[in-house]
């Protein structure tokens, strides 16, 4: 299915599968309160691929973790994370008991986090990882393993070889695909992936991206794909959300966000990203550096680095402005931004 089709479909089917409101995550530190997610609202639409882009330290991994109420202690998660079933039944994710959460995390919303290498137990073969997961969730083992083999095959791996292998016997790319298969074995609705291709070679990254797209279609998944590598997901994502300094600063259809960026940070990020098309003279680094979570500038958190900043930006934190009906930017000067070179 082409992107335009899927976009139209997601417009027709406006059903939200996850709703996030006023989400904040903070850590109390001796230096002060470190607010690593600072008031995020987000609607994840059923069967979309949402790309969340941000630099290291922008809070994107914390956003990913909070979708599963998986922020590590002593982090505190506040706000609303709601999972909505197709019939409209709602689940308050942050209010789930420990036992409920355990089921929810694999069977409803599953995750592939950074560093597949450490996600597997090195002294256990891959088959046991699958079996233990199925048993822990009281699934039929034979049926479950059949499903596992099918998913593994979908990911261009030989099931018998992979299942019999120990983690160290697989290459990085194979391990990462085995982990994706494991995350899907309990047939979740939503898959949250945090840098699932980091540390892999280009060819493997690209192959995994292609496979994720195929798998998403086959298993009717909704995917949140989190990365610092913008071009990696522009072709995959239906919508993009750009994160800067612990907040979302722009979101919209991928093509819109890339071609008509309405936040100066998104523009700067695009210009600073090495790629094969942009003329070399046009590539330049983002000026300045990202703020410390303990000491975020008042007003718009980007104003100190922004070429368009005026006095309003120093005092007033911008709410989202509508650029089009499905594209919004948290920038007082979004109209000027659209005119930027």
């Amino acid at each position: 299915m082409s992107k335009t089709d899927s976009l139209q479909e997601s417009r027709q089917d406006e059903s939200t599968i996850m709703r996030v409101r006023d989400l904040e995550v903070y850590f109390d530190m001796s230096r002060g309160q470190s607010r690593v997610v600072d008031g995020i609202d987000l609607d994840l639409k059923r069967n979309e691929i949402l790309g969340v882009v941000g630099e290291s330290g922008s809070g994107k991994s914390m956003l990913a973790a909070s979708l599963l109420d998986a922020v590590v202690d002593p982090g505190v998660t506040n706000g609303e994370v709601t999972y909505v079933e197709e019939d409209g039944t709602e689940t308050d994710v942050l209010g789930l008991s420990k036992k409920e959460l355990k089921r929810f995390r694999w069977e409803t919303v599953s995750m592939v986090f950074q560093g597949a290498m450490s996600s597997f137990n090195p002294v256990t073969d891959i088959r046991t990882h699958f079996e233990e997961t199925l048993i822990a969730h009281e699934e039929d083992l034979d049926e479950g393993m059949e499903r596992a083999k099918e998913i593994i095959t979908d990911l261009h791996l030989d099931p018998e070889r992979v299942l019999d292998a120990y983690p160290h016997e697989l290459s990085g790319g194979m391990k990462q695909r085995a982990l994706i298969a494991l995350s899907l074995v309990l047939e979740p609705e939503v898959l949250v992936m945090d840098e699932p291709t980091a540390a892999l070679d280009l060819l493997m990254q690209r192959s995994i991206i292609t496979l994720i797209n195929e798998i998403k279609e086959k298993y009717d998944l909704t995917i949140v794909f989190i990365t610092h590598d913008l071009p990696l997901i522009t072709g995959l994502a239906d919508r993009l959300a750009v994160m800067y300094a612990f907040q979302l600063v722009e979101r919209g259809p991928a093509t819109e966000v890339v071609r008509n960026s309405a936040h100066p940070y998104t523009r700067a990020l695009l210009k600073s990203t090495p790629n094969l098309q942009t003329p070399l003279e046009e590539m330049r680094p983002v000026e300045g550096s990202a703020p410390d979570p303990i000491n975020v500038p008042p007003g718009c958190s980007y104003h100190e680095r922004c070429p368009l900043a005026t006095s309003i930006c120093e005092t007033e934190d911008p709410d989202p402005y509508d650029v089009t009906d499905d594209h919004e930017a948290n920038c007082h000067h979004w109209e000027e931004t659209l005119e930027m070179e």
Binding site: L202, I209, T278, L280
Partner: protein, 393 residues
């Protein structure tokens, strides 16, 4: 000739740290090279000839057999003064081993590495007539690691980290001169006010600042060649341009040749494009295509180079959508312990024919781009038996 006086300072006021290469080569090579700068242009600075690096790996079997991994298997290239070559390829293709061998950190199994005509390992082993002592070669070939910051000694202040190369170097600088030069370099790489940085310890610097210090230290050794091994791939995408700009700025300032290793074609394009350098594509220990950015990025010939280009993400979503199907038959790289027969790429190549499984193409010069392009694929030879061969499977 004392090796400690081989690098006199040129008197270019603006760039007090720039040494004249011409003076240097005349002093160094003495009798072997009389005509100075013009001949110097032609003679390779660093030359790698039919290089092979094989590792023995103990097998798990009770018979204690060993298996040979051919990390580098017959690679040749030259670097001239200020030349830039970026080696790209997947993990395990041997690019790091090739880089390390080229700068004299790894002994080749076969083949030679020569620096200004001096065989590096002959010098190291002190065999026969040695024109350039190994100590000097070592200093001329420097390496910047994958995570440059972590290579800094955490117990030393910035000042003493950067003083080391100056003390070891050729010039007789006193304390004040060294301090002035360090301050100048810090300012130059954007660490201002430099007085604030000079007495800090590495842990008091940001990751980017640590990298700058590691870069400055490598360049202050005044090397002729710097090997940058994935020196920026650990960085966020948005910080890479800045770091590459800094490296190229220092490269120009110090007149250094650059051997850069990356798995990322976008970074390779940026560096080779900005410096007029070349990109070399490696696959399973062999160089399969080498050429300028124009050729490698815009019009690649080897099916593997094309696959790498396909794999490189595009910024514009619609361009990305238009990409063809995966141009590889298998996602996973073959086992390097048991490499395919014939062309090493034939097991993944969508264009492979039967002849590719039995015969290995050699790296041949093509007539494009003033012969700066070489490719190892039968498809680049119009009259090859490939064209009449049957498709695989």
């Amino acid at each position: 000739m004392s090796p400690t006086t081989t690098k006199p300072t040129a008197t270019t006021g603006k760039r007090p740290w720039r040494w004249s290469e011409t003076d240097m080569s005349q002093q160094q090579t003495g009798t072997s090279q009389q005509d100075g700068p013009s001949a110097n242009e032609q003679e390779p600075l660093l030359s790698v000839n039919d290089l092979k690096v094989h590792f023995e790996k103990e097998s798990q079997s009770i018979f204690g057999e060993t298996e040979t991994i051919k990390a580098v298997d017959g690679i040749s290239f030259d670097l001239t003064e200020r030349d830039v070559l970026v080696l790209v390829g997947e993990s395990g293709c041997g690019k790091t081993t090739l880089g390390k061998t080229a700068v004299g950190l790894q002994r080749p199994t076969e083949g030679t590495v020569t620096y200004r005509g001096q065989d590096v390992w002959t010098a190291k082993d002190r065999l026969g007539d040695i024109d350039i002592p190994f100590r000097e070669i070592r200093q001329s070939l420097q390496i910047i690691h994958q995570d440059p910051g972590s290579s800094l000694n955490s117990h030393k202040r910035v000042r003493s980290i950067l003083e080391e190369p100056l003390i070891q170097g050729s010039e007789d600088l006193d304390w004040n001169q060294r301090r002035a030069r360090i301050l100048g370099m810090l300012e130059h790489v954007g660490m201002a006010p430099a007085e604030d940085y000079i007495d800090r310890y590495p842990h008091q610097l940001s990751g980017g600042e640590q990298q700058r210090i590691a870069l400055v230290r490598a360049f202050l050794m005044n090397p002729d060649v710097i090997l940058g091994d994935e020196a920026i791939s650990a960085l966020d995408v948005s910080l890479r341009i800045e770091m590459m700009d800094l490296m190229m700025d220092l490269q120009e300032m110090f007149d250094t040749a650059f051997l850069f290793i990356s798995h990322n074609l976008s970074n390779a394009r940026y560096i080779a494009g900005k410096t007029g350098g070349r990109i070399g594509v490696m696959y399973l220990g062999e160089l399969v295509e080498i050429g300028t950015v124009d050729k490698i990025i815009n019009d690649p010939e080897h099916p593997y180079t094309r696959a790498l280009k396909w794999a490189t993400p595009e910024l514009d979503p619609e361009d990305a959508e238009e990409k063809d199907e995966m141009p590889i038959r298998s996602i996973d790289i073959p086992d390097p312990e048991d490499p395919p027969s014939g062309c090493p790429y034939h097991t993944r190549c969508p264009e492979a024919k039967e002849v590719c499984a039995t015969e290995e193409p050699s790296l041949l010069e093509t007539d494009v781009d003033e012969h700066r392009h070489q490719v190892a694929c039968f498809r680049s030879q119009d009259d090859h038996a490939y064209w009449d061969s049957d498709p695989i499977e």
